[in-house]
């Protein structure tokens, strides 16, 4: 064990910071730092900008367009993006899901056709996994893809589909082998979101934002060339992604910066009120969160470095990823709530993502509070998405302790 950061990484960090300072649009950075969601324009623009630099997909192999970074460099890139307020497009469905499955299991034609537009941002993907009847029990999903000559006929319904409203493509998990056991009956398909039979319905969430959707698939024709890899191997590919998930959903680099924002809010006098930092109770709350996050950062770094080495895919590694998701999500909620509490009644106004209160021009609000409630409300889902906490605990038990009694 050697825990000192290699000195040459300082130069890399400076290079990344410099790039972000000159290329990250101010309005987008403000939205991200305040707690709003990036718009479609934000996401595509950032994808384009990083694409021109060759930095869109930090974790992709060099032969498919990745920059050839080490795990630590990738971590530092993410860290600087969090500091600057850049959206993490590398975790979205195109770069984070469709791309890796395509370059690992796809055909040469599929790689040539689909990987480059992911890197430039010309094509945006959404993830078609969850269904109304299949949340945690994903393997039992019911959307079918029935073979019919040189097509599959896809029927069913997906839900919680982020960015479906503007995605060109869906990475679809559907049932192609109805007579097999549930996990063995699924296949990965590339579905054209503009094809006839695709209907997208927006879902507004507690953060007053539209980021997820319901997608109805009514006899959508998908060409057989759009099958990725083998029929019936869809679940294996999905599990491959899970085992190789480099980021732990802990968002620790973002949370670190949110604590800096909390610190600033506590130090800023509000009218005639003394700054809250003068109150030992607030100092203790901030201190406790800072301590948790500083240790968590090392746990996340370990996960990042363990990926791609001998630890990757091991039982302990899988359990560790689940552990980071559980604790990381909890910290995210507490940090977001702490900022709302520090802002007090200012946080109760409904701000739009330009800092104004949309339903009342000239309002006596406080734009510095804009986005705080959006983030806090969205973070309520951190115990639910990407595998609910109960599923993560089940994974930990299964991977670490299920064999202990034998």
């Amino acid at each position: 064990m050697h825990l000192a950061l290699p000195p040459e990484l300082a130069a890399f960090r400076a290079e990344v910071r410099d790039f972000l300072a000159t290329h990250l649009p101010d309005a987008l950075a403000w939205r991200m730092r305040q707690g709003f969601h990036p718009s479609q324009e934000d996401l595509r623009q950032w994808n384009r900008i990083t694409g021109e630099k060759g930095w869109t997909a930090p974790d992709w192999p060099v032969e498919h367009g990745g920059p050839g970074w080490s795990a630590l460099q990738s971590y530092i890139y993410e860290d600087e993006c969090a500091a600057a307020g850049a959206p993490h497009i590398q975790w979205r469905a195109g770069i984070g899901l469709a791309g890796p499955v395509l370059y690992t299991f796809g055909s040469a034609a599929q790689k040539a056709r689909y990987l480059p537009p992911i890197l430039t941002g010309e094509e945006w993907w959404c993830q078609g996994f969850s269904e109304p009847g299949s949340g945690s029990d994903l393997a039992n999903l019911r959307t079918t893809a029935r073979p019919d000559g040189d097509t599959f006929i896809v029927s069913g319904q997906k839900i919680w589909t982020s960015e479906a409203e503007f995605s060109e493509l869906m990475f679809l998990l559907a049932r192609t082998e109805p007579d097999e056991k549930p996990q063995r009956g699924l296949s990965c398909l590339i579905l054209d979101m503009r094809a006839p039979g695709v209907t997208v319905r927006p879902i507004v969430t507690l953060d007053n934002s539209h980021t997820v959707n319901e997608v109805f698939l009514d006899d959508v024709r998908v060409p057989v060339e759009n099958l990725i890899g083998e029929r019936g191997a869809g679940w294996t590919y999905a599990k491959y992604l899970l085992a190789n998930e480099r980021h732990s959903n802990a968002l620790v680099q973002r949370v670190k910066r949110e604590l800096a924002r909390l610190d600033a809010a506590l130090r800023t006098p509000y009218g005639s009120d003394a700054p809250l930092i003068a109150d030992p109770r607030w100092r203790a709350r901030l201190t406790d969160l800072e301590i948790e996050v500083q240790g968590m950062e090392y746990a996340v770094m370990r996960a990042v470095i363990d990926h791609g080495n001998a630890h990757s895919g091991t039982a302990r590694n899988m359990a560790f990823t689940s552990a980071l998701k559980i604790r990381g999500g909890d910290i995210q909620r507490r940090v977001a709530n702490a900022l709302v509490d520090a802002l007090g009644p200012r946080a109760m106004v409904d701000y739009d993502d330009c800092g104004a209160a949309p339903s009342a021009p000239g309002l006596a609000g406080d734009p510095t509070a804009a986005g705080a409630m959006t983030r806090a409300m969205f973070r309520r889902a951190s115990s639910i998405y990407s595998g609910a906490d109960e599923i993560q605990r089940g994974i930990i038990w299964q991977q670490m302790f299920a064999e202990a009694g034998r």
Binding site: S272, M348, D350, I384
Partner: protein, 377 residues
């Protein structure tokens, strides 16, 4: 001392419960407010509430009201909380009478308030600081025609529907005043908007607006605001308890209705234990509500400790319980189309109005440990 509802209180509860179920459908049965659209989604049933006499629960029978007890009020408010009813009941039916009692202005206004013809809303919160209830920036200037007011009050509960505002201000010597102002008086500008939760609020701007009446000043005004804070904290605790009950009931039913892995979620012990924990949180919170109700009667420092301490405890429980109920619903709990998430959002609204947890912790400490603080410890 009896903790169960008596027959009259059960009748009150059932009556309000029926009213709420009939008039305030839960999502997705009502159109959802969108923060990019004007207008609001949920109709007000203020006139119907008035017809049933409920607006008079805090007005003495001798003044045309029902003269009920604080416990009775808590029963009503809890049912409103169960149904997420969006009405300024606390503001107009409970707090306004507290400020107006034993005044000429009260004699003039309360009968119309009880009849639903006159909506009186307290407006004490100002922008630019967290709370500051006792030293408002709004200025009262004594002139030949009477008192005029200048300043801004923010996030006024259903301010756009108000007929009369009940305001705090300070005069040139810094003395605290409580006054009323006609909503349609010259110099009054109202900016309606919506809170994060989608509830109707308004900012009130006064430019030399003439006051209707001076209710009280100095020490009396201070006491009135202090009693209002205690009452508001207690009633918010009651509303939060109602919300927790409803969220828990919804969640228990959901766990039986929702199947994953070929069985109802209710069969999973981990989830059974989470529900059990919610029950613990709820019933202990109820104890805090009862303590606050009992403390209101005591007055003085005891009232402050019971009501502020009670609000702190109940709001912490409400955030935890309603948040857990969302978690137990999975992603469905995150949509505005499902009622469970609304209980969580409303729990936070309740916490932030009339002093948040931070405010009430300080208020409790001032009452409980003042000598320690004064001694410089």
């Amino acid at each position: 001392m009896i903790f169960d509802l008596d027959d009259d209180q059960e009748a009150i509860r059932d009556s309000i419960a029926r009213f709420v179920a009939e008039h305030y459908p839960l999502p997705p049965a009502y159109a959802l407010p969108s923060h990019s659209l004007p207008g609001h989604a949920r109709a007000s049933h203020w006139a119907a509430l008035a017809d049933l006499g409920w607006l008079g629960v805090a007005v003495a029978q001798t003044k045309g009201g029902l003269g009920m007890t604080v416990e009775d009020w808590a029963v009503i408010v809890a049912e409103l909380g169960r149904g997420l009813a969006d009405e300024p009941f606390l503001s107009t039916a409970l707090l306004a009478p507290l400020f107006l009692t034993d005044s000429n202005e009260g004699d003039a206004v309360l009968p119309d308030l009880v009849a639903g013809r006159c909506r009186v809303v307290p407006a004490l919160l100002e922008p630019g600081r967290r709370y500051g209830f006792f030293d408002p920036a709004t200025r009262a200037v004594e002139g030949p025609g009477g008192i005029t007011l200048s300043g801004i009050k923010t996030q006024v509960d259903h301010g756009a529907e108000a007929d009369i505002f009940l305001l705090s201000a300070r005069d040139a010597t810094g003395k605290l005043l409580l006054l009323t102002v006609d909503a349609r008086a010259p110099g009054v500008t109202l900016t309606p908007y919506r809170s994060y939760e989608g509830r109707k609020i308004a900012d009130l701007r006064l430019d030399d607006a003439p006051a209707r009446a001076l209710l009280c000043e100095g020490e009396s005004a201070h006491d009135a605001i202090d009693r209002a804070i205690s009452l508001a904290a207690t009633m918010q605790a009651a509303e939060a308890v109602g919300g927790m009950e409803a969220a828990i009931d919804l969640t228990a039913r959901f766990l039986w209705d929702r199947n994953q892995f070929n069985q109802p979620l209710a069969r999973f012990q981990a989830l059974q234990h989470r529900m059990a924990d919610l029950f613990v949180d709820l019933e202990v919170a109820r104890g805090h509500l009862h303590g606050a109700l009992a403390g209101l009667r005591a007055g003085g420092a005891a009232a402050v400790r019971a009501t502020s301490g009670g609000k702190v405890a109940v709001m912490r429980a409400a955030e935890r319980v309603t948040g857990e109920c969302i978690h137990l619903h999975g992603a469905m709990g995150m949509t505005l189309e499902h009622p469970v998430g609304h209980f969580y959002r409303h729990a936070i609204t309740l916490e932030k109005a009339w002093g948040d947890i931070d405010y009430h912790l300080r208020r409790y400490e001032t009452a409980a440990h003042a000598t320690m603080i004064a001694g410089g410890a």
